[in-house]
């Protein structure tokens, strides 16, 4: 039995508590984007020629593209020349170990509840920490290396494992995929890289913690996870940002590659600063996440709890190429105040006997707009493809909206696809029942919402589930009139 309510009790009454700014010396490049900025970023990271060329190609393509208009979100035009594309905590020399990390940084992450010092380690979780544009620390590298796992920042991977990076980068999300993916490909600064060799079951959860600190900066990280045949990895991602009145852009790309019989479980608790109750500030979260099940029996599972960001635009997807491969998507998206979310998934069935499952729980409160958008496609050769989708929306208050836009494209007679969606409000009867038992309205709402989201919460690793429940309760604050 999880101690759901204890968690809620502790946290109701607190607001966005990650909104502080770390006072640390930062090295930035000038505002704006052009070819020389792209070259500068690449140079700062001492990248090989091929990487620079790849970036330049992406940049050239981006210039020709238009910002997508189809998502069900509204925001003023983004001035891409007003963003700092590279900001890094200054360091005097290359770090040899965690002991050498700036104590101010360590403090920051302690405050965020993320321990990067191995002595105070989170039980069995290896963490890569990314602040603004660069990875500042990765724990447990040695222990992981003993079983052949590479877990490091993307920058290091480009230096130390160029053959792997070159082979897989852009193989799932091509640089031309969409506007924000192209931008990311041109200017990505860091991120995590993870490689699980054949037959290895990763002995601990791998985790990346993303933090935007610098004002006016964007965060463009790129994560790449490759799981060789018959390997397994569970990966967690968390993110926060300081409270600022301006909007900040976060345009990440995540690529997952699962070979034959490999399994990747990717969990996100997204808690970027959502802006204040009047809609000032907050992160624009435009993220492209996609995995490919390359081999037979591969499995990729996305779990996400989305409570942050002023605007969320993301569709973690799975391309089911290998026969008998499996894709899963479990999502809780909660929007409050003036937040807007357009999120969902794509399951592209290409191989035979592929299966996918989608469970999406949307919760809208305040004046927010929450949309589920999903695509299930079964190709001509996807014999016996199966999909089941369940998308439920819960409305709290009469000024918010809940929208469901599923796309189902079936091109083989053996496909079986089922989609169900419901929209309803939180029941007055349920609330009164709770109150009659002594549970006040706010706690009752949190209880009912947690129950509504349970099927997804159950998919999260234990440490994350607790954090996610806290987040739901905090994010609901002020949603009950």
């Amino acid at each position: 039995m999880k101690e759901e309510m204890e968690v809620l009790e502790q946290t109701i009454g607190s607001e966005y508590k990650y909104g502080f700014v770390t006072d640390i010396e930062t090295e930035t490049v000038p505002k704006g984007i052009n070819e020389s900025i792209v070259r500068l970023i690449s140079k700062k990271k001492n990248e090989p020629e091929w990487m620079l060329n790849w970036r330049l190609k992406a940049f050239a393509h981006w210039l020709k593209m238009e910002e997508p208009k189809w998502p069900n979100v509204k925001y003023p035009p983004i001035n891409f020349q007003d963003i700092i594309y590279y900001a890094a905590p200054k360091k005097k020399k290359a770090l040899n170990g965690l002991d050498e990390v700036d104590p101010e940084l360590l403090k920051t992450f302690e405050k965020l509840g993320i321990s990067i010092s191995e002595q105070k380690r989170l039980t069995g979780v290896a963490v890569d920490v990314v602040m603004d544009s660069v990875s500042v620390a990765t724990s447990f590298k040695k222990q992981l290396a003993e079983v052949g796992i590479i877990f490091c920042s993307m920058s290091e991977a480009i230096q130390n494992h160029p053959e792997l990076v070159q082979k897989y980068i852009g193989s799932v999300v091509p640089m031309t995929d969409n506007y924000f993916a192209a931008l990311n490909s041109a200017v990505f600064t860091d991120g995590s890289f993870c490689y699980i060799p054949k037959g290895v079951r990763c002995p601990m959860e791998l985790s990346t913690y993303f933090r935007i600190n610098t004002e006016n900066s964007g965060q463009f990280e790129r994560t790449l996870i490759v799981a060789e045949e018959e390997s397994y990895v569970s990966y967690l991602e968390g993110c926060t940002a300081p409270k600022r009145d301006e909007n900040q852009l976060h345009a990440a790309v995540v690529e997952l590659v699962a070979h034959r019989k490999a399994e990747i479980k990717y969990s996100t608790v997204q808690n970027w600063y959502p802006g204040d109750a009047n809609g000032a500030g907050g992160i624009y979260n435009f993220v492209t996440k996609r995995g490919i099940c390359l081999g037979e029996y591969a499995k990729i599972s996305w779990s996400q709890v989305e409570t942050g960001s002023a605007i969320t635009w993301k569709y973690p997807s799975v391309i089911l190429k290998g026969d008998y491969s499996v894709g899963e998507f479990y999502s809780v998206a909660l929007t409050n105040h003036l937040q807007q979310a357009d999120t969902g998934t794509k399951m592209i069935h290409l191989g035979k006997n592929t299966r996918s499952r989608i469970v999406s729980k949307g919760i809208s409160a305040g004046k927010s707009q929450n949309s589920y958008r999903g695509l299930v496609r079964t190709g001509k050769n996807a014999i016996n493809a199966r999909n089941f989708s369940q998308c439920d929306s819960l409305l709290l208050g009469n000024q918010c909206g809940a929208h469901t836009f599923p796309y189902i494209e079936a091109a083989h007679p053996s496909a079986i696809i089922e989609h169900e969606a419901t929209t309803s409000k939180i029941g007055e009867d349920q609330l009164f029942y709770c109150r009659q038992r002594g549970i006040d309205t706010e706690a009752a709402v949190a209880l009912i919402v947690t129950g509504f989201a349970k099927e997804v919460m159950n998919q999260l690793p234990m440490e994350f589930a607790v954090e996610a429940q806290k987040l739901l309760a905090i994010s609901l604050e002020g949603s009950v009139g």
Binding site: M1, E4, E6, G427, C434, Q436, R437, I448, K454
Partner: protein, 253 residues
Amino acid sequence: MLSIQNIHAAVEGKEILKGINLDIQPGEVHAIMGPNGSGKSTLASVLAGREEYEVTEGSITFLGKDMLELSPEERSREGLFLAFQYPVEIPGVSTTNFIKTALNEKRKYHGLAPLDAVSFLKLMKEKMQLVEIDKALLTRSVNEGFSGGEKKKNEIFQMAMLEPKLTILDETDSGLDIDALRIVASGVNKLRNKNNAIIVITHYQRLLDYLQPDFVHVLYNGRIVKSGTKELALTLEDQGYDYIKEAFGATTI
């Protein structure tokens, strides 16, 4: 313990209770009977504090406090328990967790530390035996997919856990077969003592056979038109509500 004085209440502008007076002392069991639409369930809702019911006149004192000033959850924490006629389903919230939350909210209200997991489980075990409820039900979501009988048993189980001072059983007998009725009634009887009181709202005699009320009140057209001892219930059972309607129908507006 409870003193209801001249309560008038309306829903959507329509007056349903038209001056109810009732005094209840610790240790007493009061039955409130009456035909459909007489205002029985409205009385239960007003006592529990449902916001759709507007009290237009009168007062209710519960354990020395002005009950109308209290929110539904405060009334609950003060010791009022309503066993719902139609208990709602709350998907995804386990019954155990729900009761634990309720119990600890009440303890907090009274300045007590929350029960630790061990003591809570021990308490649960004890009360489960008392009301003959299946353990498996408690791991399931609140009332979700429960049969009618299981829902009512769950209500009585919650009553046992929360140990209220005043319990209102709102048509707890409706929809129960004879075995379930016996189990529910015997659960209630085991929970009775000289410090708590019970209001039994019912249409029929059969639950009263088990509970043996001290007083029986007949509610008709928003007023208590007749009060007596348990023999009154037998008369009603015998003669039906028509006799009440004939006697009082003409005089009410």
